[in-house]
């Protein structure tokens, strides 16, 4: 856990709420993404492979965009779990490096960690892996604006409820 995160749980979003809100997102359900774990400053989710998510018919590899959605989502959740109650989170930028093809047929995992939170920005790093968390097939780096445009992030409802 980054030291920037408050130790006082009453100043933070309840973790169960972060999980519930993410799992209720229409596109999350459409892709079949399940949250594995949300802890303070980090989130892990699992995506079951499906033929309709293939991006390269030559290799059967899942489309990079699916990995984008997985990592943007766990990154946003990692940021949300680390910000103060009532703060909003909006993805500012997201860069993904595709290290290798994911192994066809295996469940895909996305994991992200908030490495630093300032007053206005959360810095997040993430990985996507199939068999071994130490052998990722993609890595990402993302920044999230905090308390920015209040309508930008799907987890916004949590911010409004907290007010």
């Amino acid at each position: 856990m980054p030291r920037v995160i408050s130790r006082d749980e009453t100043e933070l979003y309840p973790l169960e709420k972060v999980r519930e809100t993410l799992e209720a997102l229409p596109h999350f359900q459409e892709l079949g993404i399940r949250i594995v774990e949300v802890v303070r400053g980090a989130c892990t989710a699992r995506l079951e492979p499906s033929p309709r998510l293939v991006g390269n018919p030559d290799t059967g590899a899942v489309h990079g965009g699916v990995i984008t959605t997985l990592l943007d989502s766990v990154g946003g959740a990692a940021a949300f779990s680390a910000v103060r109650l009532g703060q909003t989170v909006a993805t500012l930028d997201l860069r993904i490096d595709y290290l290798r093809a994911a192994e066809p047929g295996l469940d895909l995992y996305g994991h992200a960690q908030c490495i630093k939170r300032t007053r206005s920005v959360a810095f997040v790093r993430g990985t996507a892996y199939d068999r071994d968390p130490e052998d990722p097939f993609a890595t990402c780096i993302a920044t999230f604006m905090l308390g920015a445009n209040p309508s930008e992030h799907p987890l916004q409802r949590l911010a409004e409820e907290a007010r």
Binding site: A24, L25, P26, H27, E30, P51, R52, L53, V54, G55, N56, P57, D58, V62, H63, G64, G65, V66, T68, T69, L70, L71, D72, S73, G76, A90, T91, L92, D93, L94, R95, I96, D97, Y98, A101, N149, S151, E152, H153, P154, Q156, R157
Partner: protein
């Protein structure tokens, strides 16, 4: 000109998103129709950021397929997305610009917009292995 429409049909994830191609004056325009299943924020509603990023990457790939002679589908090495505005409940359009088409690597810049082409909702840049 290569039949990009056929290649689009061959990519299951592109069919899943319902992406189609139109011919613009300055090259192909990719179109992402709006539907409820791509929503990230149900209250706005707004398209999920991951879908916007996916669409940009797909637009880059299709722009590249339109320009390159290779028969294989280029593989993304990396892709970076800047989210500039939230993408509302409307059709999103994207256009790609090939910055460099090398022997092994292509660098592609893309923008996505809704309505006014000057009102960019997201911009991306990526490197692809040909």
């Amino acid at each position: 000109m290569r039949p990009v429409g056929e290649l689009l049909d061959a990519i299951p994830y592109a069919r899943f998103l319902g992406v189609r191609i139109e011919r613009g004056a300055s090259g192909p325009i990719c179109v992402l129709p709006f539907r409820d299943e791509i929503v990230g924020n149900a209250r706005l509603p707004a398209v999920h950021g991951g879908v916007v990023g996916s669409f940009l990457e797909l637009t880059a790939l299709l722009g590249l397929l339109d320009q390159s002679e290779g028969s294989r589908i280029p593989k993304p090495i990396n892709f970076s997305t800047d989210f500039l505005r939230s993408a509302g409940a409307a059709e999103t359009r994207g256009r790609a610009e090939i910055v460099k088409l090398g022997r092994r690597i292509a660098n592609v810049r893309v923008v996505a917009f809704q309505g006014d082409p000057e009102r960019v909702v997201a911009a991306g840049i990526g490197n692809f292995l040909l």
